[in-house]
Amino acid sequence: MLKIKILLKNIEGVLTDIKKTVEITPQNEVKLVVDKQDLKLAISLLKDHTALKFNLITDIIGVDRINQEGYEKRFDVIYILTSTSLQTHMKIVVSVDIDEDIPSITDLFIGADWLEREVWDMFGIPFDAHPDLRRLLTDYGFEGHPLRKDFPVYGYSEVRYDEEVGKVIYEPVKLQQDYRQFNSLSPWEGLNSQPQQDQAQAVAMPGDEKANV
């Protein structure tokens, strides 16, 4: 705990010129929120400053915030950096809207190359000045960005081998029955674990509307 507080102070000291918010999350992690134009500067300072040395890129995470409340912009991109000398992780959060691009950090960390490609693949967030921004995980010629919340779980097209044509073909998805969401929210415990929720609103459970029919 003490270590993290010192780290927080250090980060605030190093990143004096940058508009930012640094905080310790309830899960005991250091979280730094910066604007996207300050991102590269912040990461290069964190990487090179002798007191910090966040020299290992751990992950780049895209999040689609569309269903969550309290977020102005659609996407968050979270960079997780590790300092092998301080033996700790930290995360840097950048918010972007749809069709907005983010500066690429491939010149700071070579490993960011594939991680950024994955974020582009999954969320369609373009990275500015990325040397080779192609899809990473999805099929050749895939359309859409599957981890966006408006992309259905079953996707849009399915693939099979056609005996007649003699090759693999793509078709629109045909489901034998509608996709079922098993949202078994219960009135007793589901409410208790969400104390912030308004009581009157929470009492209306799925299926309640049928009671008076």
Binding site: T58, T88, H89, I110, W114
Partner: protein
């Protein structure tokens, strides 16, 4: 007259016995020398991250076992730690020790297989058979503990699914002696073998600085001389109480990666012995029935337990809103999970930090200038599994 000289282009994979899975590697060759190699991954992409957003927290555990299927037990460990941290679940000491025990056993299985596979990739068949034999024994222990040989679904939020009997612990302890001999046999066959050394020393060299920049973790990073092990730096569960060393080599080549793994198996044997010797008594999972299923016997008499059981397996449990990154030291490197909870019974987003992707992304750097025959050796030494890199 002038003729255009074209480089020989080889499509290494997706079906290739040495690609360790479905790697498509496009290799440009000048004779047998590699000019450029470009890995294409994602042929095993199953959309686990998307599926996990649609399943309750306790239903997501098996997805992780199917990522790195070579060391299945280690992957859900990270996810379970993240869920426990978000939900505030306290795990009893015995549960922690059992989790560490199975994950260390799984590490032995993974390392012995990867050593055998490396030997097979450079042409020696026997170490692979030895490695598979070791893995088979480990699988049998997994079966006795959880009921399934590979995907045991053993580690769950709140502890482990079943307690281990003292008899099983004793058998594991006895096996550690046999294992020491088997590892010694592998060591004798390979470590000082001149052909093996010719094939691995100075092949696929990467410097510590580059490795960090690529995001290497685990044995591959330690082989470059960076002393970095999550179990030491950010100890989870009860790793603080265990005494072990981590292997570091400064060469950063294929042989160093092999040697680090070999050393790690021996250290892991040490850890397993300590864990069994110090195994605390008590429950193997938390008593909080909101997170773990109640005993069958209790369900037959207690109404509340029955409700808990039904709720747990239909709705799951609600995890308070929050975001957390948790990582464990998997056999192949740092395996992390970023979980975003929004207060419902399903995670809002789960991001898996894989161990293989950074290693794969450095493949061009590692193979450039080497011969075609070095590709299998390098692939074998960086120890990749495509179920994990493609998710």
């Amino acid at each position: 007259m002038s003729t255009e000289i074209k480089n020989f282009r080889l499509n290494f994979g997706p079906q290739h016995p040495a690609a360790h899975g479905v790697l498509r590697l496009i290799v440009e060759l000048d004779g047998e020398r590699i000019e450029r190699s470009e890995p294409h991954i994602g042929l095993l992409h199953r959309g686990s991250e998307k599926l996990m957003e649609d399943k309750a927290y306790n239903q997501n555990v098996p997805f992780f076992e199917r990522m790195d299927y070579v060391s299945a037990i280690n992957q859900p460990y990270a996810y379970v730690l993240a869920v426990e941290k978000l939900a505030g679940i306290q795990v009893p000491k015995r549960g922690q020790y059992l989790r560490m025990l199975v994950s260390e056993l799984s590490r032995i299985g993974s390392h012995s297989l990867s050593m055998g596979a490396l030997a097979n990739d450079v042409g020696a068949i026997t170490p692979l058979i030895l490695g598979l034999e070791i893995r088979e024994r480990i699988s049998e222990f997994c079966e006795r503990a959880s009921g399934a040989r590979m995907h045991g679904n053993y580690i769950r939020p709140g502890g482990v699914s079943f307690d281990m009997k003292q008899e099983l612990l004793d058998d594991i302890l006895t096996y550690m002696d046999d294992l020491t001999n088997d590892i010694q046999a592998c060591d004798d066959l390979l470590s000082e073998n001149r052909i093996f050394k010719q094939r691995t020393v100075d092949i696929g060299v990467i410097s510590a600085k580059q490795a960090l920049s690529y995001g290497f973790t685990g044995p591959n990073l330690r082989a470059c001389g960076v002393e970095w092990d999550i179990r030491k730096s950010q100890p989870y569960d009860a790793y603080e109480e265990i005494d072990f060393n981590i292997a570091v080599s400064s060469d950063g080549d294929t042989y160093a990666r092999y040697a680090v793994r070999l050393f790690e198996i021996r250290e892991t044997i040490k850890i397993v012995r300590q864990l069994i010797k110090n195994m605390p008594a008590g429950r193997h999972k938390t008593d909080d029935e909101k997170f773990t299923n109640p005993k069958r016997k209790k369900m037959q008499s207690s109404m509340e337990s029955l409700i808990h059981h039904f709720k747990l397996f239909s709705e799951g449990y609600h995890v308070p809103a929050g975001e957390v990154y948790e990582s464990v030291e998997a056999p192949k490197g740092e395996f992390g999970v970023y979980v975003i909870a929004d207060g419902t019974n399903k995670p809002y987003r789960v991001k898996v930090k894989t161990t293989s992707v950074p290693h794969l992304s450095a493949l061009n750097e590692l193979t450039k200038g080497h011969m075609l025959s070095d590709i299998p050796a390098i692939l074998g030494s960086i120890d990749i599994v495509f179920g994990e890199s493609d998710r």
